[in-house]
């Protein structure tokens, strides 16, 4: 009696930025170029809508690369390698495309809390201001309708990751979906109701995958507003949840000896990055300390 194994995968030969490498059939270009891939030198393809626990949605277009013989650029996160494929990850055409995509995103949405956005803007020479002050934006006040997490859709790039995490791919709660068309499309609960009147179960698995900070812990939102949020002073420690016996791995983000955020490792065999309301938000009991008795 043994554990069934997946059938072995053939290796294919591809060329990445002039270097010939062999990778397993079925690998995506992004994985082939990633840290665990065979390419020498870090390719560092930017991604936003890509999620390591989600099926690629091809929404943000920031990971586009050039494949010889292909009329259009292709998304590295979803295109799988083929025998003989010749790929350029940093050609002029690629850089130009990334510049424009970042300019369009940056002009319409607030990327101030998107990790690495500033670095990419600089790398590709993107200037979001060049469309002028009248460029359409999704600017709007943050939705603060509960004590656990905040939805700041002025930062939303419509990557769909939250919808997929809430829906069939993980949580299967289906509290949110895409509403509207074109530039007016947005993430919404049923009838745009507040979360407290929606199907939301506050697992925060949408917060876990959000790439821009449009979804954030209320603690993080409040601390940013107060100017006290400081990731350089935070530690991240992975331990086990305090509640039921499933044994979910929780990563506690701690600043000044207070838990300020909880995530879960995406490669963990128990959680795959997902938690429930108790694991994600139920930590306050350990830090309810009578005032004046902290030490």
């Amino acid at each position: 009696m043994t554990i069934p194994l997946r059938p072995p995968r053939r290796l294919v030969d591809i060329t990445v930025d002039g270097e010939e490498v062999r990778v397993a059939e079925g690998t995506t270009i992004l994985d082939a170029c990633g840290d665990s891939g065979p390419c020498s030198g870090k390719k560092d393809i930017p991604t936003l809508c890509y999620g390591d626990t989600l099926t690629p949605k091809n929404a943000c277009r920031v990971c586009m690369v050039e494949v010889e013989g292909s009329r259009t650029l292709v998304p590295a996160c979803s295109r799988r390698v083929e025998q003989g494929m010749v790929i350029s990850t940093d050609s002029e055409r690629v850089r130009h495309s990334r510049k424009l995509v970042l300019e369009l995103l940056g002009s319409s949405t607030d990327l101030s809390t998107t990790p690495r956005a500033e670095e990419w803007m600089e790398r590709y020479g993107a200037d979001p201001a060049r469309f002028g002050p009248d460029a359409a934006t999704v600017e709007q006040p943050p939705k603060v309708d509960n004590d656990l997490y905040v939805r700041d859709y002025g930062k939303c790039i419509m990557c769909y990751k939250c919808v997929d995490a809430c829906g069939e791919q993980w949580q299967n709660t289906f509290a949110i979906a895409v509403a509207g068309r074109g530039f007016d499309s947005h993430i919404s609960t049923e009838f745009d109701a507040p979360l407290t009147d929606s199907a939301c179960v506050y697992c925060g698995n949408c917060v876990e995958v959000c790439p821009t900070g449009a979804l954030s812990f209320k603690t993080e939102f409040d601390m940013r507003a107060a100017g006290t949020w400081d990731e350089s002073r935070q530690t991240q420690t992975t331990t086990i949840c305090a509640y039921c016996g499933v044994g979910c791995n929780v990563t506690l983000h701690v600043q000044d000896n207070e838990i300020v955020k909880v995530t879960s490792p995406h490669d963990n065999p128990v959680t795959h990055g997902n938690l429930c309301i108790k694991g994600r938000f139920g930590f306050q009991h350990v830090q309810n300390v009578p005032t004046g008795q902290k030490d």
Binding site: M1, T238, C244, P269, C276, G282, H285, V286
Partner: protein, 649 residues
């Protein structure tokens, strides 16, 4: 509906001792001296068996190891148990009686790769949400799921078929499934002949349970029973998962054996994708038992009655271990009432609010000569103590390991500095041991773990470094050089009888309806359980502001509400033969006529366990939380809080 939010508990930040009837602040030195002196006094006066230890299912394996060692080596008794008793002790008893090992047989990944999933008495969608994500993966991969539950729970909403049985009729349903499988010729004769014993007796015992008889007793349509039986027996792989709907009954171990019988009948155990999974309710309730914090096993789930095993531990600990089982939690409480147990050390448990028939529990704890409570909060139980010791929160303020429902031992890491003078559980235990003449010292949790590894073969290969590398390792792990398959009991499929080992016995079982009978005075069946955002007695979960929380309610179906003239939100009196409480009505169409539901998350407002019955399973000692007989009365005038007679404290 009133939006009730319980006052969150504050952390304990310094030791307390009782003086002139009240708890006052004390130094660690004074508190430890008082705690140790009380234990010594009672052991000298009445012998070691007058001591009882309640260890903590939410603390680390390392703490549980030291706590049971303290009980056995310092005090000299086997009276050590944990809240394991109130939930899954019957699963451990049932599984170990059949297979020789008390863990669930399968891994979470297997439920994604199986063909049929039976969720029996398990509201996992709400009680074990991340396990249920694996179930959902299985469903999306094409598995059929059957939900067996008196309530149409969140789990049932995802099922192909919901079997809404009457509370306490699990054995008739399991027997009818077995009989149908046998009569349809779908039982696995090869597996039965090779790996089991007692099939003929089992066949005779289920023979009276035709589909029609079972339908009358269980309330489940015969066609549904037949469909589940055929789907389970015909599946290439099938998982049978259960939770407290099976185990919180007076005949709980029998219930567990009834489910195991089905797996033996069809060969759905010991193979990848086929197995038996009890879903554990607390983050380290599996580990607490594995570490020997139970009265009948030494660390590594090793039998205490085996002289060779005792000798190994006696050598390592330089002590004598009593060659008999200690008292379990239920027996401890009884022995307190009889005056046989006079000193008790409770670590991180809140029996005053978690035990069935809570009034009886308070009375018994009140009869102790010496009660020491070690906790992170001043719980209702701690308020009764002579000495209160402030501990660290295991999951985020200590180093160590927990063991989850798939037997995976995982590292717990310290992320926070504990508040005030709160100290690590192991340090506290060592300080007490030192005051009682045992000069213990551990340089951190890893030293404890390595001592455990040297004594427990199933943990021997799990170094901290390997646990880190593999994101946890499932037991058994006897060697540092290899990993075992993720499922247990593959041996049962061996053709060589030597490798196959002990065959798995079928159990001959009788139906035994709930002890608390329904009659004209108490016509409604009350069952209890958890909600998604809350947890047990609410001491932990009351600490955060859940938008979902609505306080305690009595949930009734629309038909009963109409019949009794109840409206949503109306406060009513709920009474059983033991006590009565007042709670608002919540109308829930997922319930059936005659069935009402409450949680036990808000005991400070509504003490649900004043209603439940302390009828316990004779084998495992678990109480019948799932079946009380109650009555609902409309209130004539609004009650003030003082008039609620069952309020504890």
């Amino acid at each position: 509906m009133k939006n009730k939010r319980a006052e969150p508990y504050d952390r304990l930040t310094h030791p307390l001792v009782r003086e002139d009837g009240v708890l006052r602040r004390a130094s660690w030195e004074e508190a430890l001296d008082r705690a140790a002196e009380g234990f010594r006094r009672n052991v000298e006066a009445h012998g070691p068996n007058a001591f009882a230890m309640l260890s903590c299912a939410r603390s680390t394996n390392e703490m549980n190891y030291v706590a049971q060692k303290f009980t056995r080596a310092v005090i000299g008794t086997n009276n050590v148990d944990s809240c394991n008793r109130t939930c899954h002790a019957p699963s451990v008893a049932g599984l170990s009686a059949v297979f020789g090992s008390g863990g669930g047989t399968s891994s979470y990944q297997e439920v994604e790769d199986t063909d049929v999933i039976i969720m029996w008495g398990s509201a996992a969608r709400n009680a074990h949400p991340i396990f249920f994500q694996h179930v959902l993966k299985g469903i999306h991969n094409g598995a059929r799921m059957f939900a067996v539950d008196p309530r149409r729970t969140g789990t049932a909403q995802w099922a192909d078929l919901w079997l809404g049985l009457n509370v306490g009729t699990d054995i008739p349903l399991a027997h009818a499934i077995a009989r149908e499988i046998i009569h349809a010729g779908l039982h696995n004769t090869t597996f039965i002949e090779r790996a089991t014993t007692g099939f003929e007796e089992f066949r005779r015992c289920v023979e009276p349970w035709t589909l029609e008889v079972a339908e009358r007793v269980t309330g489940v349509p015969a066609s549904a029973i037949r469909e589940l039986a055929h789907a389970y027996a015909r599946a290439d792989r099938a998982q049978l998962c259960w939770t407290l709907g099976i185990t919180e009954h007076h005949n709980a171990t029998d219930n567990v054996r009834a489910l195991i019988n089905l797996a033996l009948l069809t060969g759905h155990v010991g193979r990848y994708g086929s197995g038996l999974s009890p879903l554990r309710g607390q983050n380290n309730v599996q580990g607490g038992g594995d570490m020997g914090a139970i009265p009948n096993r030494l660390p590594g789930f090793q039998e205490i009655l085996d002289p060779a095993i005792r000798a190994k531990f006696e050598g390592a600990w330089n002590t004598r271990i009593q060659p008999r089982h200690g008292l379990n939690l239920t027996q401890m409480l009884e022995a307190m009432g009889e005056g046989e147990v006079t000193a008790c050390y409770i670590i991180g448990e809140n029996p005053v609010q978690s035990e069935a028939d809570s009034l009886a529990c308070i009375k018994r704890l009140g009869m102790l000569d010496h009660l020491v409570v070690q906790d992170i909060f001043l719980t209702k139980t701690a308020r009764m103590a002579d000495v209160v010791l402030p501990a660290t929160a295991a999951w985020c303020e200590t180093e160590g390991t927990f063991t989850n429902s798939e037997r995976r031992v995982q590292r717990v890491r310290r992320a926070l500095e504990p508040p005030g003078e709160a100290r690590d559980d192991i340090w506290i235990l060592c300080e007490l041991a030192r005051r009682l003449g045992h000069d213990w010292h551990y340089d951190g949790a890893e030293e404890v773990w390595n001592e455990l590894r040297s004594l427990s073969p199933v943990h021997a290969g799990m170094t901290y470094a390997r646990l880190e590398e593999h994101q946890g390792i499932q037991w058994p792990c006897p060697s540092e050089d290899s990993l075992e398959p993720p499922f247990l009991h593959g041996r049962l499929w061996e053709t060589d009888p030597v490798k196959r080992g002990m065959p798995a016995p079928f159990a001959v079982l009788e139906h035994s309806p709930p002890v608390d009978e329904l009659d004209e005075e108490f016509p409604l069946r009350l069952t209890t359980g958890r909600r998604l955002d809350s947890y047990n007695t609410g001491v932990q979960s009351s600490g955060f502001a859940s938008p979902l929380r609505r306080g305690e309610t009595i949930e009734v179906c629309p038909e009963d509400a109409l019949r009794l003239g109840l409206t949503a939100g109306e406060e009513v009196r709920i009474s059983s033969r033991r006590g009565s409480v007042v709670a608002p009505v919540y109308i829930d169409p997922a319930l059936r006529p005659g069935l009402v539901f409450m949680t036990f998350h808000f005991p400070d407002e509504v003490d649900t366990n004043a209603l439940t019955i302390e009828a316990t399973c004779p084998i495992a000692g678990t109480a019948e939380f799932k079946a009380a007989a109650v009555r609902i009365d409309k209130l004539t005038a609004p009650v003030s809080e003082e008039l609620v007679p069952a309020k504890a404290g």
